[in-house]
Amino acid sequence: MTTKIKLEHVSKIFGPKPKSVIPMIKQGMSKDEILAETDHTVGVYDASLDIKQGEVFVIMGLSGSGKSTLIRCFNLLNKPTDGSIYIDDEDIVKYNSSQLKKVRQEKIAMVFQHFGLFSHRTILSNVEYGLEIRNVPKEERREIAMKNIEIVGLKGYEDKYPDELSGGMQQRVGLARALANDPDILLMDEPFSALDPLIRREMQLELLDIQERLQKTIVFITHDVNEAFKIGDRVAVMKDGQVVQVGTPEEIIESPANDYISEFIKDIDRSKVFQAENVMIKPNALVSLKDGLNVAIKEMEENGISSVFVVDRQRHLQGIVTIDDAIKGKKEKKSLEDVLSTDVTVVQKDEYVNDLIPKALESKYPLAVINEEEKVIGFILRVHVLAGLAANDVNESDEYHA
């Protein structure tokens, strides 16, 4: 994937002489000390990020951590005090005002926490705004606006005013307005924080849905860990104006960079972040059909397990055999095929733990995990599901005997 946005040592300081403060931070003075001594507020300090084309990049932090300040640097609503911001390899900090206007008109659009709608304009002319200031002809911009109003599911509301719509609908207008410009980059500043939980969940899913179709590069700000991990391909965690960790949700949960992040992710709903792949155990033993009962029994005894998956040559699952059935079958001179149980629940490797819980409860055998080619890549016991919800390191659990 190519890099779309690159931030290099971006700092934003508020106050009468912001540049003068940079050396003080370099000497290691804290945000509070600088505020007390110089009356300057450090919004963001030394943020370096690398955002890929087409990814949903989430910046997460508590209020006051500088995340809203940072996102406003991406389209220079805040001009960084120091550092460079490259969009498609061009440093936009160095742009003059007409170049900047062009980038804002064509490449970046923003969605705001409190929607930022123009209350004196109808929904249609709100959505048209970005096109209007680019002097797109009336007919054409109407058509584009209507298309985007339809995408966000507000068809029929185009002649209403923002105050006649609910919060969720207003944010859809905000989204449609940003999409109408057909930007490469979508900046979203806590877009769903002002909405109630039900609507928020709905909007999150819809955003992912729209993203799947349109493949924008999205920079998304939130203070909600669950939201961040749900929609983010990668997440940056901010604290006191600095980026403290960047990684995929799984990476951050599995190895939080410091106590602050551990505290932050403490109440994350892990079942919605971890997938089957993250909690499964790679099998030590797999038995092929033609290996026969003796081999199966030997494998189980050697590995100290009570059941084993039976696969064909392509590692496609055939069934499972337990140690009891195998010994009984051997006594009765049966073949492996006769004692094979095909009643195995199969799960995809990217299924969330949340969805595995009921399956694990119902199945009397371990769950078999398969990849895209339907090859068996691991198994999951009930205890693994539980461990996935609680422990930091799933694989440390020793109890993988059924």
Binding site: R72, N75, L77, L100, K101, K102, V103, R104, Q105, E106, I108, A109, M110, F112, Q113, H114, F115, G116, L117, F118, S119, H120, R121, Y129, G130, E132, I133, R134, Y161, P162, D163, E164, Q170, G174, N181, L187
Partner: protein
């Protein structure tokens, strides 16, 4: 003793010679203004007098109905009819013409100044005390330079009225533009609006309800000034009030006075109604 020592600064004299200086130096300029202002007043006055009396009453009813309620419309037309029965129809029209002219000039001067103040804190800082002075100086004082520049008559009245009625529209324009929601401004910026597009498409429309409140205040102050301005020869209802004082004519005084009250109520309610219409749909952030 408590007497003040014999020190005198005669600032008044300086102001006097300053005003004379301006008067002689910019004579052509003042003549031009005189011409424009008197033409405007006479034009509006002639137009109002050209309207059949019943049509004017119907117009007032329609305005009241549209911006307020049917009852209000009926009430306002009754007021206007009553003023007619006092024999003050023509005076009322002249008064309306003076007020309209003053308000139009106030808006033409006041809104750009207000916008500038909103954009430049330094300009705002300088302008504010001047606005305070304009509002607190006894309004009679403005009549003196007015006579100097424009002689006796309606134009002097307009000049004095302007100085007195200008501050509210300037102040409220500044306030309105400054108070436009920050996120709305940011979102307009994020789409790459130019400064002019921002002002025209976002800030002014968003500010309009508050600016209209300023227009309402300015109009009411202009009306209040009408009586005072009659001392420099403004015609209209104010002149009748002045005449009644000189003659100690209670009947005329009451009729002219109550006519001004009627006019005040109508103008206030209608401009207020206009402001409320604009307010609709602008409640959300």
């Amino acid at each position: 003793m408590g007497a003040f020592p014999d020190i005198s600064t005669s600032i008044g004299d300086y102001v006097d010679s300053f005003v004379s200086f301006i008067d002689t130096t910019f004579e052509g300029f003042f003549d031009f203004i005189y011409l424009v202002a008197s033409r405007t007043i006479n034009g509006i006055d002639d137009f109002l007098m050209f309207l059949p009396w019943w049509l004017f009453i119907v117009l007032i009813f329609l305005l009241g109905w549209y911006f307020k309620t049917v009852v209000a419309g009926v009430l306002y037309s009754v007021f206007i009819f009553l003023i007619g029965t006092f024999g003050l129809w023509e005076d009322m029209m002249t008064t309306i013409a003076i007020i309209l002219t003053a308000v139009i000039i106030c808006l033409i001067i006041g809104i750009p100044i207000g916008v500038w103040m909103a954009f430049s804190s330094r300009f705002s800082l300088v302008t504010r005390p001047i606005l305070d002075a304009m509002q607190t100086m006894p309004s009679f004082v403005y009549l003196i330079p007015a006579i100097f520049f424009f002689g006796l008559g309606n134009v002097s009245a307009i000049f004095a009225t302007l100085i007195y009625a200008l501050p509210p529209v300037i102040r409220l324009t500044e306030l309105a533009i400054r108070e436009v929601d920050q996120e709305v401004i940011e979102s307009a910026q994020s789409f790459g609006s130019s400064r002019w597009q921002m002002l025209r498409k976002i800030q002014l429309p968003q500010a309009l309800p508050t600016i209209m409140a300023g227009v309402n205040q300015t109009t009411m102050m202009a009306l209040a000034m009408v009586v005072i301005a009659s001392m420099v020869g403004a015609s209209g209802l104010g002149e009748q009030v002045l005449v009644s004082i000189n003659r100690i004519d209670i009947a005329l005084g009451f009729e002219a006075g109550i006519s001004i009250v009627f006019l005040a109520v109508i103008i206030d309610r209608i401009t207020n109604g206009v402001a409320n219409k604009f307010q609709k749909h602008r409640g959300v952030s």
